[in-house]
Amino acid sequence: MIKDPVIEVIDFNFYYGDKRALTDVNVKIEKNSVTGIIGPSGCGKSTFLRSINLMNNLILGARYEGKIMLDGENIIHKDVDVVELRRKVGMVFQKSNPFPKSIFENVAYGLRINGIKNKDLISRRIEESLKGAALWEEVKDRLNASAFDLSGGQQQRLCIARALAVEPDILLMDEPASALDPTATIKIEELIQELKKKYTIIIVTHNMQQAARVSDYTAFFMMGKLIEYNRTNLMFTNPEFKITEDYITGRFG
């Protein structure tokens, strides 16, 4: 099914202290595709997403087992440079979290912490990133305005631009549209279609229609286990398991 995997998750387990949150997850993520992760609340989908850039490290008592292979390297390994990894694997959070800086400085943040000082390069990257996040036309005349002056949808696209500026290979999105109105949501979804040409995208979503609309592959999680993983069109038309069908059709959730 997967021809050109960029991430390969092998027998992956995750624990919060003594509590096992993910059990024996095996999955391959196709390059330049959108993989949707669905499942009921507390099923471990966010935990899984946040394992891929080791964001779970911030949580006390977090423990990983198994392998997550990225570019032939197991990122769970102790010697992995977390900083380097997070530059390759960008993340967009559920609640848009622009920094209390100007629009320009928000996008420039990732470049500055990477030691880039060349002003022309920074300006060029900011323009590219904002264009990439379909925000450029709306903000090009007010780059020095506060990021908080933007609408919710614009703020989320700013966060996407901020992630794009450091030129990652993979973009993780944790329910990026859950706090947005339908118009802003459609914009984000269109943007995701555009972005997959250059990036590999993994998106957690609560919204079944959204998963069906934007993702090429869908992974269905329940109680910490990967129940079913398939091409989205196959999974939504002909799910292998009864429980997947029940969830997709809204019989529980």
Partner: protein, 286 residues
């Protein structure tokens, strides 16, 4: 009928709360007017820029003002970096376990230790063991110790108020922990940290007990030439004038005048804290 009872209860409650506020305001007004009425007669430029003369029955309180400034500056130099550093470590780096909880509880408890205890500790540690001698440095260090719990607690609260998303957002972009903290947490916590710190300093500026054995002098005919000299300080001068002077009644206005200057100084520091916080908050939004 029921509605009426609730209305009466509402009125009574409101009246009690208003009375509480008015009482507090009244006390403050009485204190200030008392100081003002009794002290205004001695306040003039000479009082602020001259030394005491004629066995401290005449002249000004300039050496005490300078002494208090000096000792407050030394306190700030030691307590601000140390306190903020402690707070940053505790809030950002330390693991949350029984040991850090114990440290935190200890720090909070230290804030309640009477200042005279700090004074005695300062004598033993700084004056004797470290052999600094009774000096403005020893006093400043003692006051630093006393203000540290306040500085640490206020700074930690300020850091706690910075949303987790600022840290996560930076880390997700490949920032190191220190980069995230230094560029995306501390700058926004500084207003809160400084406010708490300045309030702590203003309390230190009005303290007498920690200075008592560590460096403050009853009367000095000269100004401190360095940090190893003794000094005069406003609160101690006030204490002497109010209780120890040989002709207490005669110097009463000077005592009140000193109180006025001290209160004004503390007020200015607090005002400075408010202005600073306001300015930094405004900058942050732009």
């Amino acid at each position: 009928m029921k509605i009426d009872i609730n209305r009466i209860k509402e009125k009574i409650g409101f009246m009690i709360l208003t009375a509480c506020l008015l009482l507090v305001v009244l006390i403050i007004i009485v204190i200030f007017t008392n100081i003002l009425i009794n002290g205004y007669s001695v306040i003039n430029i000479d009082f602020l820029i001259k030394s005491p003369t004629q066995g401290m029955t005449e002249g000004g309180i300039m050496p005490a003002i300078i002494g208090t400034f000096l000792v407050t500056i030394i306190t700030a130099i030691f307590s601000i970096p140390l306190g903020m550093g402690c707070a940053i470590y505790l809030n950002e780096y330390a693991k949350q376990n029984w040991f850090t909880r114990l440290i935190r509880i200890s720090i909070r408890n230290l804030a309640g230790v009477p200042s005279i205890v700090y004074g005695l500790f300062g004598v033993v540690l700084f004056v004797q063991l470290m052999n600094i001698g009774t000096s403005v440095l020893a006093s400043g260090l003692t006051l630093s110790l006393m203000t540290l719990p306040m500085t640490i607690t206020a700074s930690e609260e300020a850091l706690k108020n910075i949303p987790m998303s600022f840290r996560e957002g930076a880390l997700a972009l490949g920032a190191t922990k220190w980069q995230a903290i230094s560029t995306n947490v501390i700058p926004y916590a500084i207003p809160g940290m400084l406010t708490g710190t300045i309030l702590g300093l203003s309390r230190a500026a009005g303290e007498t007990a920690p200075l008592l054995f560590t460096g403050v002098a009853f009367y000095l005919p000269y100004l401190p030439k360095g940090v190893f000299d003794q000094f005069m300080a406003l609160p101690y001068h006030l204490y002497i004038m109010a209780t120890q002077h040989h002709s207490i009644m005669e110097v009463r206005p000077i005592a009140y005048g000193t109180a006025m200057v001290l209160v004004a100084l503390v007020f200015m520091m607090n005002l400075g804290a408010i202005i600073l916080r306001y300015r930094l908050r405004k900058n942050r939004k732009e």
